[in-house]
């Protein structure tokens, strides 16, 4: 679909473009779309041309004889019934073939990931690795990933355009997609089904690594959380965390066991916070802890009541940043 893109006059990078497929799945749907697009473009040109010619050629002029009252023409009716029908056969056959080839089937050795949509963040569970993380999905390049998609609350839709088309995350049901990323890279996506106040803020990232980098990442994620050094600011932060409302919703292995919000065991390894909305740095973390709904409307993580002191927040930020 590079032709269409050229028309739009944009040359910059489009991280969520459907026209730059980066996986087998995305490529299959893109090829199909390109096919249909050219059929549609051809029909468009023919029909609009006929319309314009009719308008120019048969405009009313004084002195012309009255038009002949043609009521219809059976052969022409048959012709322009059959013509679109034949074109549609050329669209339908590859369509059905692609439906079956992209229906989420994957080889047995595929990496299996369970995606769970929440208002408004993503939970990722690596089924065979017993590993859970949030909002940033790591997968190896060149290996098929089979994603099972469901929801913990309302209907969401899981979508990373360069890697493949969306599937809805529906509570009580699991939908599957399978894709094999071409090469390493960093991709962005977001929820595509309206899911409430912060639907626009339910973004995600997919980091496609080499096999070995992915292995190292997984190894680290499976390990215990970092213990802050004695007497450090981060150690104070851990104490603040342990006595605050945080523990009700978040898990840090060995520290707290909440399951409502994202796991924080290795939160320091993530590049973004708030479901891909803000960079994971101390300034944004501090603002987020103090007043999450101000950064993400409707967020279930409410304003801290009573508010934490600036010192407590700074300590907490130091602790979270340490959790690599």
């Amino acid at each position: 679909m590079t032709a269409t893109l050229a028309l739009s006059g944009c040359g910059g990078p489009f991280p969520q473009s459907t026209l730059h497929p980066r996986s087998d799945f995305a490529r299959a749907t893109d090829v199909l779309f390109t096919d249909i697009f050219w059929w549609a473009a051809a029909v468009f040109v023919v029909v609009e041309l006929l319309l314009v010619v009719a308008l120019v050629r048969f405009r009313h002029r004084e002195g012309r004889p009255a038009p002949k009252p043609a009521h219809g023409h059976t052969l022409m009716e048959i012709a322009w019934t059959l013509a679109p029908a034949v074109i549609l056969v050329f669209v339908a056959v590859p369509t059905v073939r692609t439906i079956f080839s992209t229906s989420g089937v994957a080889p047995a050795d595929a990496l299996k990931v369970q995606v769970i949509g929440h208002q408004w963040w993503w939970e990722f569970r690596y089924v065979d690795l017993a590993l859970t993380t949030a909002n940033e999905l790591h997968v190896p390049a060149g290996k098929t990933v089979r994603v099972g998609i469901t929801s913990a609350d309302v209907i969401h839709s899981f979508w990373i355009p360069p890697l493949g088309g969306k599937r809805d995350a529906i509570p009580g049901q699991t939908n599957y997609i399978a894709f094999r990323a071409d090469s390493t890279g960093d991709y962005s996506g977001q929820c595509a089904e309206f899911c409430g106040a912060s639907h626009a803020n339910m973004r995600l990232r997919v980091i496609v690594d080499t096999d070995s980098a992915f292995g190292a990442w997984a190894q680290n994620q499976l390990g215990p959380p970092v213990t802050p050094p004695k007497g450090s600011l981060a150690e104070q932060g851990k104490a603040v965390y342990a006595r605050s409302a945080c523990i009700g919703c978040h898990v840090i292995q060995g520290v707290s066991a909440g399951v409502i919000g994202p796991s924080l065991t290795h939160v320091g390894t993530r590049t973004t916070i708030a479901s891909g909305l803000f960079p994971n740095d101390s300034a944004h973390l501090a603002r987020w802890i103090a007043d999450a709904p101000a950064m993400k409307p409707g967020s279930i993580m409410t304003r801290m009541q009573p508010p934490l002191s600036d010192g407590d927040i700074a300590a907490l930020v130091a602790y979270l940043e340490l959790l690599k």
């Binding site: 749907t29 029909v47 009719a54 048969f58 409430g196």
Partner: protein, 606 residues
């Protein structure tokens, strides 16, 4: 007009009217007002999205705006604008004195008005719920997907307004649907066989059948949701063994026929305007009519193409892809017949013709992009993105709205007795044509580049900021075109040229009587001998127009208060439900029953 009393005037005469022409005008002005409200909502949406990270409105307000924009345009603007022509034009085209059930017709209008006011009151009544103004309007999308719309996830009164408001509006549509089916089938003038009906009346008939079959489906869906929200039922709650996908099936089983409810009347208008201004009969009348009927039937077998990302499985996806592609065939046939109607004609470039041709040119774009998402794998990248927003606006703005404007310019002289300015009309057309393409064409790219729909903010990183700015500029250009149209209406009221019976040389019966028609329509009911009664064709000469004055006095029934009174019961019931106050619900129900009872026993002669 000897033999007939002068038409009554004053507020009472409008509140009690049962004259289909007055009700048609009431529909027009009410629906057009809602169209302006829905348009303002669209402008705020576009202002917010003009730049990335916009701060014109909050997330919550934005969600209410796009919900009400969709709901308003579908239920309060486009459907009732079509209804305004059903009311005014259909009885004239079939040679009738009124619709079959004039008081039911008034009831339909009042229920529509009150239902629309009830829905829109939600913008203002926030303080009654200890919330701010602009806080309790519906915010679940015009499609209202469960389970987001369940009480658990939408605890406020927002969705209650939507659930109750749509049920009220459904009653209006259903009552009108039955009324027009009976009218078209039973009140045709002598000789007006079904295959002599004007194309617009035919498409009206198909639309009414779709309405009476589709609206019960959404009513069931809404009643389920109402039971879930008010009485703790679990129709869409997966923890109770149900599935929220049930809502989607029910909604789109209604929603896809609804698309044809919105487009078929406009297709009917285009099928009237093109022959008149090409001075040539509609090419392939029979095929155009049958393809309209076929679309009506096939529209029932395609609903799951709104659900290709739901995971229905490859077999279901393949079947719905096939049925959806098939429906392109009768649609294409219509387009070819319209072009063939123009071909060989003597085309007069009136404003109405501009809009009718604009309909064809723009509807093709919407139809073709529709084919690209009839293919489920391709649709996985398109559904719920701006690509689909582009598609529906090419169909419903490029199609329905341009078609309705063609109808307005075409029939305004008949409805008001004055001709709209053609110069202003052409300004209106070209501004709107350019505006809509600026507004909606970039949305194809915005969607393909990865911007989902229904998001109140987007990141500059997506690379779609400039395209969004162009789209916003287009939206405001559309607003300018509407201002030109409003000025045209205002100017015509005072200075418009008086319309003769037949300013355009039309073939159908409405052009045989004065503009506007007398209260009884036809001084003598015409006898119809052909499909083009007022035209000279190879087989017959034009019919004799009815005499200006009736040979004998014509009895015209007086008005009635009861349709309005009965209609008032419905919003009162809804207010009671929202306030969780049983006695108000019962009072509303009592008023409805009293209204219907007195209506039923009202003496015929008033």
């Amino acid at each position: 007009m000897s033999g007939a009393p002068p038409p009554p005037t004053g507020l009472k005469s409008w509140l009690t009217t049962t004259d289909h022409k007055r009700i048609g005008l009431l529909y027009f002005w009410t629906a057009f007002s809602f169209f302006l409200i829905g348009g303002l909502e669209a402008l705020v949406i576009r202002a917010q999205l003009a730049r990335p990270d916009g701060h014109v409105v909050s997330a919550e307000t934005f969600n209410q705006l796009f919900t009400m924009h969709g709901t308003t345009m579908v239920f309060l603007a486009l459907m009732p604008l079509s209804a305004s022509f059903f009311n005014y034009i259909v009885p004239l085209q079939i040679g009738a004195r009124d619709v079959a059930f004039p008081r039911l017709n008034a009831f339909s209008y009042w229920v529509f008005l009150l239902g629309g006011l009830f829905l829109n009151a939600s913008w203002l009544v926030g303080p009654l719920f200890r919330a701010g103004v602009l806080n309790v309007a519906p915010d679940g999308g015009w499609f209202g997907y469960a389970n987001l719309t369940e009480r658990q996830f939408s605890p406020g009164p927002n969705i209650d307004f939507w659930v109750l408001g749509l049920q009220i509006l459904g009653i209006s549509s259903l009552a009108a649907g039955f009324n027009f089916i009976v009218t078209i089938l039973n009140l045709r003038a002598p000789g007006m066989k079904l295959m002599r009906l004007p194309a617009f009346t035919w498409m009206t008939l198909v639309t009414q059948f779709l309405i009476i079959t589709a609206f019960p489906v959404i009513t069931v869906a809404l009643v389920f949701l109402m039971f879930d929200r008010f009485f703790g039922a679990h129709f869409y709650v997966h923890q109770a063994g149900a599935t929220p996908v049930l809502w989607q099936h029910l909604f789109w089983l209604f929603g896809h026929p609804e698309v044809y409810i919105l487009i078929l009347p406009a297709m009917g208008i285009v099928s009237e305007v093109l022959p008149t201004f090409a001075r040539k009969p509609l090419f392939g009348y029979t095929v155009v009519v049958y393809s309209g009927v076929l679309i009506g039937f096939m529209g029932w077998g395609v609903w799951s193409h709104h659900m290709f990302s739901v995971g229905l499985g490859p077999i279901a996806d393949s079947v719905f892809a096939a049925t959806t592609m098939l429906i392109a065939v009768p649609t294409g046939v219509k387009i070819f017949n319209w072009i063939a109607t123009l071909w060989g004609g003597a085309i007069r470039g009136t404003t109405a013709l501009h809009f009718a041709v604009g309909f064809i040119a723009m509807f093709i774009i919407g139809g073709l992009s529709g084919v690209t998402h009839a293919s489920p794998p391709a649709d996985l990248q398109q559904t719920d993105t701006y690509y689909v927003v582009a598609h529906i606006h090419y169909v419903l703005f490029g199609g329905t709205i341009l078609g309705l404007f063609a109808g307005i310019y075409y029939w305004w002289p008949k409805m008001t007795g004055r001709l709209l300015s053609e110069t202003l009309g052409k300004w209106h057309f070209w501004l709107q044509f350019v505006g809509m393409n600026l507004a909606f064409f970039p949305m194809h790219f915005i969607g393909l580049l990865g911007m989902p729909r229904r998001i109140y903010t987007y990141s500059a990183d997506l690379g779609v900021s400039d395209l969004n700015l162009v789209s916003t500029i287009g939206a405001f250009l559309i607003a300018v075109s509407i201002l030109v149209f409003l000025y045209n209406l205002w100017r015509t009221r005072r200075h418009g040229q008086r319309a003769p019976n037949d300013p355009w040389g039309g073939a159908s019966l409405e052009w045989s009587i004065s503009s506007p028609p007398p209260v009884y329509n036809f001084s003598v009911i015409p006898t119809v001998t052909s499909r083009l009664p007022r035209w000279q064709t190879e087989h017959h000469g034009p019919m004799q127009d009815p005499p200006a004055a009736p040979p004998a006095p014509i009895h015209v029934p007086g008005g009635s208060w009861w349709p309005l009174i009965a209609a008032l019961g419905l919003p009162i019931m809804a207010v009671g439900a929202i306030a969780h106050t049983l006695w108000v619900v019962l009072a509303g129900a009592a008023l409805l029953l009293v209204g219907i009872y007195c209506w039923a026993f009202e003496p015929f002669e008033v």
